[in-house]
Amino acid sequence: MGSIQLQDVRKSFGNIDVIPGASLKIEDGEFVVFVGPSGCGKSTLLRLIAGLEDVTGGHILIDGVDVVDTPPAKRGLSMVFQSYALYPHMSVRGNIAFGLKMARMPKAEIDRKVNEAAGVLNLTSYLERKPRELSGGQRQRVAIGRAIVREPKAFLFDEPLSNLDAALRVNMRLEIARLQKELGTTAVYVTHDQVEAMTMADRIVVLHAGRIEQFGSPLELYERPANLFVAGFIGSPRMNFVEGPDAERLGARTIGVRPEHITVSRSGDGWKGMVSVAEHLGSDTFLYVEVPGIGTLTVRTPGELGLREGDTAVLTPDPARIHRFDANGQAIAS
């Protein structure tokens, strides 16, 4: 079991409100990702759940029990740190076993559990090594091993992949997601990388300046962003925003169209502009088109169109995929 519920959780450092008030409910077994730009309070929120920081106000319920006054060790959570935070003077075995030793588990049982965890994570042949003798990916596995061996109510991940190179990151992403599904343990995962968020999460919490902007499944966020911030943050390349007469015609202050929902042609009706940059990625081409009166629009087109810098392009948005936002930046339901 491991449901986590935040009720109006607030945190301030001195006079600065880092989290003005956050409420959400994470169901048992769910993989929830906190995503947002740096400084949005996502790590603070995670540390509040962990108990490494005190809440200024509100309640945190784990399995329905308020843990605000419970020290971190007694909350039954385990955490994987960005720096891995391995104990440098202990072997891999010592690292994984430390939490069990602290819980005074009998030695035989510790050994069994450590071996089991090492097996799952392909660490068996490294058990007697020290962390400094391991590669980045292996250290990451040890950190994960340390977290799973205690069979916690929930895992907390604090940007665990940001110190790995790109290729390894994709692998570990898959591995963590697979492991979490196998174990069925609740996971809260903090990242600033929206690709990680989209690929791993059951549900995503988008945070901005300490506020929860939207909480929903990846597809929901992509298809029905609640406001301008979420619309701009989720999706790559970024959604195009257009203001002025084109938006007012649709009854909105701002309209948004994703680059992949725009068709390009050499002539016809639509926004006319000049291609300023064309990025060829092979499978896709990103075109940056200067449209007079609107600005630069990004377009994603499959394959090659033969458009070059300086050519004229006509852009037609898919009318069914236009997002409309009011003066406050909130989405207008269609």
Partner: protein, 276 residues
């Protein structure tokens, strides 16, 4: 390191560095040489550098005076005892200041160091009288307390700079793993800080071993360490140089050897975090 290194430059800098090093070391070398001379050779002009009648007689004489061993033992007890007690008090304080700092932490540290700024003579009179009234004059306990308190600010400061280098994450991980504060210190902090703790310990043993204000003023014989023993050679201007040298060599040898083995870490510790 892609700078030009001509042979001449290496030769010139090597020779000058060795000459400078030799000048630094010469008084000690001369003392050691003299300790193996007869009293007559010790005084001879021109001085005898290596070709004299080598003798260990002075060491035997110094050793025979049983009070040398007695004073050496006092030095060990005073330096070791005061350092260990200071460490016991300082580790928790440095831990707290390094890992849960408050707005006052910096001020507290500066205040602690400022107690070291107070010259010992400022409190010589009351300490002397208190010691007299509590029968602590010439006692090891009293001197251990004074040396311990005198060095406490430096111990705390050094430990603090070492602890600050340890990533907070690792201690938080231990806390998540269910370690209590005591276990956190014993299983995680102390093993990781071993080099820092060791050099703090060494520096304070050295400082306490060589301390020569309180030891000279508060002890006479029973608790007197080597500083006082050596000082007793100051009055007679007689033909004592070889024996003085032998006693001095014995007095500084342990610290010199410990110091030489640990000099790299010591110097780093002495920069008080000012040099990374």
């Amino acid at each position: 390191m892609a700078r030009k290194r001509t042979t001449t430059r290496i030769v010139v800098s090597t020779v000058s560095a060795w000459v400078v090093g030799f000048i630094f070391f010469f008084p000690i070398l001369w003392m050691i040489l003299t300790s193996f001379k007869t009293e007559l050779d010790a005084f001879s002009i021109p001085p005898k550098f290596l070709f004299f009648h080598w003798t260990t007689e002075n060491y035997a004489t110094v050793q025979e005076r049983s009070n040398y061993v007695h004073h050496a033992l006092n030095s060990v007890i005073l330096a070791g005892g005061s350092t260990l007690i200071a460490l016991l008090i300082a580790v928790p304080a440095a831990y707290a200041m390094a890992f849960s700092p408050t707005k006052r932490t910096r001020g507290t540290l500066m205040w602690m160091l400022s107690t070291k700024m107070m010259p010992p003579v400022g409190v010589l009179v009351p300490i002397y009288l208190l010691f007299r009234d509590f029968n602590l004059l010439d006692s090891r306990i009293g001197l251990i307390a004074v040396l311990c308190l005198g060095n406490l600010p430096i111990v705390i400061w050094m430990l603090f700079t070492y602890f600050k280098e340890i990533p907070k994450d690792i201690l938080e991980a231990a806390r998540m793993d269910g370690a209590t504060i005591g276990k956190e210190m014993v299983y995680i902090l102390m093993p990781m800080a071993v080099p820092g703790i060791a050099s703090t310990l060494l520096l304070n043993v050295i400082l306490a071993w060589n301390e020569a204000f309180w030891t000279l003023n508060l002890t006479t014989s029973t608790a007197a360490p080597l500083t006082v023993f050596i000082a007793s050679y100051s009055s007679p201007e007689g033909l004592f140089w070889a024996k003085l040298s032998a006693a001095s060599t014995l007095a500084i040898a342990p610290i010199l050897i410990i110091g030489w083995f640990s000099q790299k870490q010591l110097v780093r510790g002495l920069t008080f975090g000012a040099v990374k």
